[in-house]
């Protein structure tokens, strides 16, 4: 079962594992809200090295407020950035 549900507040883990990963640096450490649960997919960090990609990872679209990401952002305060992030990159707020 997926760990998070739509509306949950999450914080993106800060990490730089050697090799391939799909969590851009600019979003690491940022706090956002689960916008949708995309489903379960093969883990690209394993697929990239010839493995089968299992166990499957839940993928989420996570929503961030642009002003939280970029201090100088001047657009509408409701402007958002939505990005797809695999579950093992997400923590609850309490986990920090």
């Amino acid at each position: 079962m997926e760990r998070f549900k739509v509306g949950d507040t999450v914080k993106v883990r800060i990490d730089s594992p050697s090799g391939h990963y799909r969590t851009p640096i600019y979003i690491q450490g940022m706090t956002g809200v689960i916008e949708s649960v995309c489903g379960r997919f093969k883990n690209p960090e394993k697929l990239a090295y010839g493995h089968d990609g299992y166990p499957l990872e839940t993928l989420y679209t996570v929503e961030f407020i642009q002003r939280d990401l970029w201090p100088d952002y001047t657009g509408n305060i409701a402007d958002k950035l939505l990005i797809d992030i695999y579950e093992h990159w997400l923590n609850t707020i309490n986990e920090g």
Partner: protein, 212 residues
């Protein structure tokens, strides 16, 4: 340079050979290895390349035109793009990446990017434009989406909520742009003619009704 180093000096080739770029040479080398090691055949590679080249923004434009005129189809398309497209005869590959369709409105405007590389709904729209793959677009549209869209000629009101979609994983996004004003009586072909590739990425609006 001495003639010792260039024994053929003075001999001119009748055709000019174009030096393959670094990436062209690299992809050729990878393709050769895949074939030699029996991972895939040249026929399979050609089939995939042809399949991708057979897709074009015209396919997306037809789908947008239908979504503009058929509310039920539009609702289905937004909820489950693969299923909705299957019903009208577009069979998308039954494997990831999956297509997800979002709709722009007077209140919300989506714009799509892949900051990591060049993820794009190729299964429907074919190859992405070069600017979509450029470092400038990928880095700037997440930080300054309104400025970037202005450079494409789209000035959004401050009231509109901008949503940048960074497709970093298994989902590919296509935008249904806002239907242009004054197109009430238009047939499907005329509507589709207004839908540009860039409007399905979200960096611009479709053409206006008087363009036809």
């Amino acid at each position: 340079m001495s003639n010792d180093q260039h024994p053929n000096h003075g001999h001119h080739e009748t055709e000019t050979e174009v030096q393959a770029s670094y990436y062209a040479s690299r992809s050729k080398a990878i393709e050769t290895l895949l074939v030699e090691k029996g991972v895939m055949t040249t026929t399979e590679i050609d089939r995939e390349v042809n399949a991708m080249d057979s897709k074009s923004p015209a396919d997306g434009a037809k789908i947008v035109a239908l979504a503009w005129s058929d509310d039920l189809f539009r609702t289905k398309l937004l909820a489950n793009a693969s299923e909705a497209l299957k019903e009208i005869g577009y069979e998308l590959p039954d494997k990831t990446p999956y297509l997800k369709v979002v709709a722009n409105s007077d209140d919300i405007h989506y714009v799509v990017v892949c900051t990591l590389c060049s993820c794009y709904p190729r299964m429907l729209l074919g190859r992405p434009p070069d600017w979509y793959k450029s470092l400038a677009y990928r880095s700037r549209v997440v930080v300054s989406p309104r400025e970037v869209m202005e450079e494409f000629g789209l000035r959004l009101s401050d009231d509109v909520e901008v949503r940048v979609l960074d497709s970093t994983a298994d989902m590919r996004y296509m935008v249904i742009p806002r239907r242009p004003l004054g197109t009430e009586g238009f047939d499907q072909d005329s509507l589709a003619a207004l839908v540009t590739r860039d409007s399905m990425i979200g960096v611009s609006d479709p053409l206006s009704a008087d363009c036809l």
